[in-house]
Every structure is written in structure tokens, then in C-alpha cells.
Symmetry: C2
Subunit: 333 residues, 2 copies
């Protein structure tokens, strides 16, 4: 590992001052084409690449944004991360990725370490921080985009992007109603999850709209995976045999629900229709193919970084965006 070539090296080799080299590198005027070309040649020849650290120290910009997610292993966040990074790459920004594992302490540490690294902004996904701490953190950073989490008071330099859970669920329930279902169960996820809470509200609202009475016996919460879906549905089926539709918190739960139904001798969708959320790859492979609520996560990730860059460039208003679900109708409902 040889020593880095520096601005000074180039300047010496070209018999000019560091400043003219700097001007060339940053495409700034004030240098003749002749010397510019000469310097450019030397830069190639000596394989010079600017030291971003030194540059950041003086410009106060790092061309780096922090991406904080609960778990990159979750396809939901992986998709978002991909979109975030793609857009960042196009603007020559780079991503610092941190998993919080849904632990408060780790999230705080993440934010601290990002702050120390002087990043230009953060994209914070599904933050579990209490309102006060969250808004305090946000105010430390030059720019932040909140994904899947809102904050009560509007803050400058903040925009939050949320998937419209309520409307999504309402669309699903409406679909159930349209195909003649009346006893619609709700399989909720972890109650620490804001999405789960919002979807529950959407469920209740949609029932009201459809003039169907709310029955708490039709609501169960469990883990957001196939096992949770299976257990929840089994429990449901044992106390309520009239169920003809199930809305599940996500596709994995929906698949667990299907398995539970089939095992209990109910055909899907003929006797019990089922709708999930996420449109994971599996949902178009599994049989019966899953009807599900879909949102283009990668595109959402792109939107997040574009928005963040807008904030950084002072071209954004404090706001909150709502992304709409699309109902993908396949076989299960």
C-alpha cells in the first residue's frame, strides 16, 4: 500500500500552487486551458484522487447519508435500501448503513455515530424512538427523511414518507365486501408497530363504511410470520366458524393463515378469502397465489433520497408524503 498522492504532490510536479490544482479538480474558472490540460495529465499519470476526509473538514459536506433500518435482512427494508442507494449513487452520494435490530439503545448509538461522522442527512426507517427523543435527534442533523414513522410537530429540514396503511386496508376490505364477504377477520402484527396500529384503524373504519358491525372476536394479533399467521388463524377458527375473509398484516401471516384454513378443511378462497400485504416474491409462487397490497418499495427508497437531497439543497418544504397501496388481485381473494 503506497502513500496517497496529494494535491501538494501534483502542485510540485506541475510547478504551480496547490490552488490552481484545486481549481482544476473542482472545475473552477481561473486557469488557462494549457495549464489545466497539463495538470489533468499529471493527475491521471500520478493517479491522484482527492482525499474526501480533508475536503469534508473544510466544506462541512461529506457526500454521505445515513440509512438506519431495523433489519436489512427484512426484504421490506432491503428493497428500500436498494432504491435509496441507487438514487444516492446517481448523485454521487454514499450510504452509511446501520441496523437497529429494533433496539432503542442501538438506534440512539446509530444516530450518535452518524452525527459524529458529520453526514449530510439521514433516512430513518420505522424509528422506535419516543417522540421527544426523535425530534431532538432530528434537529441535530442538516436534513432527515422519516420513513414509516411520523412526528407530531412539523420540523424544518424534515419530511416523512408514509405508506397509507389506512387507505390500503380500506381498499382490501372493500374488495372483500364486493365479493360478498361479511365476516371479515383481522390478523394484526406486533403492537409496537405503527403500521399494525394504523391498519387496525383502517380495518375498523372500513367496516363502518361498509356498515358491518365490529366484532372483537374477529381480531387477533400475533408475530408477523407464517407461524404467527397460522396460530392466530387457528385460534380464530376455533372460536368463530362463520369467518369468510381474513385480512393479514403481511404476506407471511397470510400464508400461515391459508395453511391453517386448509388444514381445518376450509377452501381458499371459495370459503375463506385472504388478503395479505407486501407482495413478497413468494406470494406469486405460493398456491393459491396471494391477493395482496403492493407498494413499489424500491421507488419509495429513491423518493426518500431525492427528497433528502432536496432538503439538503434547501429546495424542500416541511411535509409528509403518503404513498398509496395498490391491490394486486390474484387467487386468494
Amino acid at each position: 500500500m503506497k502513500k496517497r498522492t496529494t494535491l501538494a504532490d501534483i502542485a510540485k510536479a506541475a510547478n504551480v500552487s496547490m490552488m490552481t490544482v484545486s481549481r482544476v479538480i473542482n472545475n473552477k474558472p481561473g486557469v488557462t486551458n494549457q495549464t489545466r490540460k497539463h495538470i489533468l495529465d499529471l493527475i491521471k499519470e500520478m493517479e491522484y484522487q482527492p482525499n474526501a476526509i480533508a475536503r469534508s473538514l473544510v466544506t462541512n459536506k461529506t457526500k454521505t447519508i445515513g440509512l438506519v433500518v431495523p433489519d436489512i435482512t427484512n426484504p421490506f427494508f432491503a428493497q428500500i435500501a436498494r432504491g435509496v442507494e441507487d438514487a444516492a449513487y446517481e448523485h454521487e452520494y454514499t450510504i452509511l448503513l446501520i441496523n437497529t435490530n429494533e433496539e432503542l439503545e442501538r438506534e440512539m448509538n446509530a444516530l450518535d455515530s452518524l452525527w459524529q461522522k458529520d453526514i449530510d442527512g439521514i433516512i430513518l426507517c420505522s424509528s422506535r424512538l419516543p417522540e421527544l427523543k426523535l425530534s431532538a435527534q432530528i434537529q441535530r442533523f442538516p436534513a432527515t427523511v422519516l420513513l414509516n414513522r411520523e412526528v407530531l410537530e412539523p420540523l424544518p429540514n424534515l419530511v416523512s414518507i408514509n405508506v397509507n396503511d389506512q387507505r390500503g386496508v380500506q381498499r382490501a376490505i372493500q374488495h372483500f365486501v364486493e365479493i360478498g364477504r361479511k365476516n371479515i377477520a383481522f390478523l394484526g402484527g406486533p403492537n409496537t408497530s405503527f403500521s399494525s396500529q394504523r391498519r387496525f384503524v383502517g380495518y375498523q373504519t372500513a367496516l363502518k363504511t361498509a356498515q358491518i358491525a365490529y366484532d372483537e372476536n374477529l381480531v387477533v394479533f400475533n408475530q408477523p410470520n407464517t407461524e404467527g399467521g397460522y396460530k392466530a388463524t387457528s385460534a380464530l377458527l376455533s372460536k368463530k366458524s362463520t369467518i369468510d375473509a381474513i385480512f393479514a398484516f403481511n404476506d407471511l401471516m397470510a400464508i400461515g393463515a391459508i395453511q391453517a384454513c386448509q388444514q381445518a378443511g376450509h377452501r381458499v378462497p371459495e370459503e375463506i378469502a385472504i388478503i395479505g400485504v407486501d407482495d413478497i416474491p413468494l406470494s406469486s409462487i405460493f398456491h393459491p397465489r396471494l391477493t395482496t397490497l403492493h407498494v413499489n418499495l424500491q421507488q419509495t427508497g429513491r423518493l426518500a433520497t431525492r427528497t433528502l437531497l432536496d432538503i439538503i439543497g434547501n429546495e424542500a418544504l416541511p411535509a409528509t408524503y403518503q404513498i398509496e397501496f395498490e391491490l394486486i388481485t390474484r387467487e386468494s381473494a
Copy 2:
């Protein structure tokens, strides 16, 4: 966004020099407990956190490592990334994540931008770079771990970690033989993939060991997804009706293969046994549950960063590690 508190601010407030503050921050001796406590209090009070950029400029260490993957959306790399980040977090390192999308230019750009940011080391996954460029790149960085890719000449500051594809496949084929299968087909992935190549070699070797003649009509390559598996298997079945076992490049192809078999009227595993690779979540849900080659990816990711940190700390030898697959026997074989 208020201005950052700096070392100088604390020094002034404490009526000491910046150095004693610096000593306190870095837990270095040479300061009385009294003044240390006083300074510590001020640091808390004024919410001082060191500026990592400035620190890096002088120490030449960034406490940051670069993680380059083809696509974080691929669960394979997501798992690895999680392990990498977890271990990094434990050592107070931070991860710069870059996707290459399997494009050479993007991989080169990734490496350049990481180099400019002066990171302490890189973990490079499934690099597509030609030998020469790759080894040139590696020599620029203080430390590098190669995942799923080898380089011919050993380099100082480099260790590569590979999953032992050959041995894994051999184990799978051996299993087929043990359950009495003789006409074993091979479903390969993209031929740009080193793993696919190595698995093909493993397949041929295993056949030789089992004294089964190699038949090129039993080998097909296709895309590494369900569709590819389906197409490849359909093609296979139409020209070879005696097939009684299929080894697939990955679980998705294996699932496509199962669907093709069933559609052609062959029962799995009774008539055709199938083994995949990766042990994706789906493989234990799909019916018949998939027999597959498994490796703990998250643990592998952890190993990668631990190894990288060893190299950085000059406590590692140039080497290549081989991680062994484990055959998870479920229903499909």
C-alpha cells in the same frame, strides 16, 4: 441546527488547554481525577461529541469499512450484510454499503469512492472484476476480505472467504446416490457466476466418484430464479425421461423445477428427487419442503468483518477460508 461544540469550546470553558481535554476524551493518562471529572461534566453539559472527520484526518483511520455487494435485495447478501454490520457495530465500526448491480463500471466506481473516503478496509462480495484489476484494487486498500471470489496470487492484507461449493455439491450428489438415484441432472445458474462454475465441477467430480457416467444431456443452465428453473427442467424432461434426481443451482430454481416436474406428471420426490441451495425461508414453507444446502450466512458475515479487523490490526495471515455447506434433509430428496 446549532453549531457543533468543539474541543476548543470545552477547553475554553474548562480553562485548560485542548490537549487535556483531548486526553480525557481518549482516556489517556496524565490528568488528575479532579480536572478529568470537571471536563467530563462539561462534555456532558455542552453535549460535546468528537468530530470524526477531523480525527480521521490526523489519525488516518476512519473506523469505517466498505461493503460492496451485487444487490442488497438478494437475501443472500442481505444476510451477509447483517452479520457484517452486527460485528462491525460491536467493534464500533461503521459500514459504507454499495450495490454494484453486477456492473463492472459501478464496481470500479464503488471502489474509487471508498478509496477517496479513506476507509480502513473493504469486504468485497462476488466481485466480477477481472483478476488484474481486482488485485490492483486490493493493493490500494489497507485491508480487504473477498467473499465468494478468489484471486490467484496471494496478497498481503487479503483473505478470501469462500463457500465450499464443490464439497457441498458432492454431498448432495452423494445423498442422491444413497437414496438410489442414478440419473442425476444439473441445473446451473448464470455462467458468469463463479459459484455456478465451481458447482458444476463438483457435480462432475461427484459423478466420477460414484462411478456414474457424465451425460451432457443432463446439464442445463438458466437464470437463477423460479422461472429459469421451470424452463430448464421442462427442457430437460422433454429430452430425457429417465431423470430421477435434479440438483438445482439455488432454491428458487429448485422450486421452479418441482413445479415443472409436477406439471409433467412426475411426483417429487418419489419419482424425481430435488435438492437446491441456500435454504431460503421459502424452502421450509413450500410443499414439498425443500432439501437444500445450507450455510449460516450471517455468521459468515461476522467472520468477514472479524477477519478484516484482524488484518487491520496486523493479526492476520494471508489466507483463504473455506466454509462448509450443511445438507438439510427435508422432503424433496
